[in-house]
């Protein structure tokens, strides 16, 4: 069965860049959310088994999404993809339950590396 992937970022350019970075040959269905509120909604509806999450977003930021996932115990593996790469930001998201932290700009090699490292990707 296809894995539901959610790309949650307020920038359409960043969403596109992320979508392009998803390894080919991985059986996935890609969904998009443009802020944290939409993102949480999509995860609740099962569209975010694997989430690529930005941090700086309007309405609800990435930290808010991680807090909600934890509070509601939602089934999502979250990979934070962020331009804010300060040590504090990395520590904070890992503390909130993110699985991995990837520095923007994302590309296919970085995406494949993190997905393989955490055993998230299963090839069809």
């Amino acid at each position: 069965m296809a894995t539901n992937i959610l790309i949650c970022d307020d920038s359409s350019f960043a969403r596109k860049q992320m979508a392009r970075a998803i390894p080919t040959g991985w059986d996935v269905e890609v969904h998009f959310a443009t802020d944290g509120v939409e993102g949480v909604q999509a995860i609740r509806e099962g569209r975010g088994e694997v989430v690529f999450l930005d941090l700086t977003m309007p309405n609800m930021d990435g930290y808010g999404v991680l807090e909600t996932i934890r509070k509601e115990d939602l089934p999502a593996m979250v990979i934070v993809v962020s331009g804010d790469i300060q040590p504090d930001a990395q520590e904070r998201v890992m503390g909130l339950g993110a699985m991995a932290f990837v520095k923007k700009p994302i590309d296919a090699a970085k995406a494949e590396a993190v997905l393989t490292e955490y055993g998230i990707m299963t090839r069809a």
């Binding site: 359409s12 350019f13 960043a14 860049q17 331009g83 790469i85 930001a89 923007k104 700009p105």
Partner: protein, 205 residues
């Protein structure tokens, strides 16, 4: 004399500039955060085509009555040229001196050194960060002090006589729990904006 082509900016282009800046300023903030051992608050960068006469309005951090110090530094590469303008609210220097462990009294000279150091770090990281993503190598000119303890309007009067309409990217950096307040403005020449838009369109394609 030929009429210069009209510079425009679509929503997609603006979004792309914002995202590229977001990544670059994150790299710059990371370096500053490590230098000062404090967290830098990252805003959403503002990207606008502005008339030079409206530049004052683009600057968020400094208020009319505040004393500011400013540095500018030119950059050029692949036919794209611009100026980076860094404005510090003068109240920032006390904390910057403390966090950089600056020895001795916070004299005019000391403030100048801190101004140059922090500006080079932020401007350099930001310009190189944007360049890397666009695959352009920017050469940077020498930083020039535009003024210390001045009014914002005086700074802008000396620095910008060259262009009319420009692409302005504004980043307003503040720090958590520390009084540091500065603005980084990236201003591109009109010709450069046309070329940059080409590169951006290629990325968006």
């Amino acid at each position: 004399m030929t009429t210069p082509p009209i510079v425009t900016l679509s929503d997609d282009q603006r979004d792309c500039y914002q995202e590229l800046t977001n990544v670059a300023m994150g790299q710059a903030a990371d370096r500053l955060a490590r230098l000062l051992d404090s967290y830098v608050v990252l805003p959403i960068p503002k990207v606008n085509l502005i008339e030079i006469s409206d530049l004052r309005m683009a600057i968020e951090g400094a208020q009319e009555e505040d004393a500011v110090s400013a540095v500018c530094q030119g950059f050029i590469g692949s036919g794209i040229a611009g100026e980076a303008l860094m404005l510090f609210n003068d109240t920032s220097f006390t904390d910057l001196a403390r966090l950089t462990n600056y020895p001795g009294e916070l004299t005019h000279q000391a403030q100048l050194e801190i101004l140059m150091d922090v500006s080079s770090l932020l401007i350099g990281a930001c310009i190189q960060g944007i360049g890397e993503q666009l695959e352009i190598h920017f050469n940077q000119g020498h930083p020039v002090v535009l003024g210390q303890h001045c009014n914002v309007n005086d700074i802008l009067n000396v620095s910008n006589q060259k262009w009319r309409r420009t692409l302005a990217i504004e980043i307003h950096y503040t720090m958590e729990a520390v009084n540091v307040d500065c603005d980084l403005l990236l201003l591109f020449t009109e010709d450069s904006v046309l070329r940059l838009n080409h590169v951006i369109d290629f990325l968006l394609d």
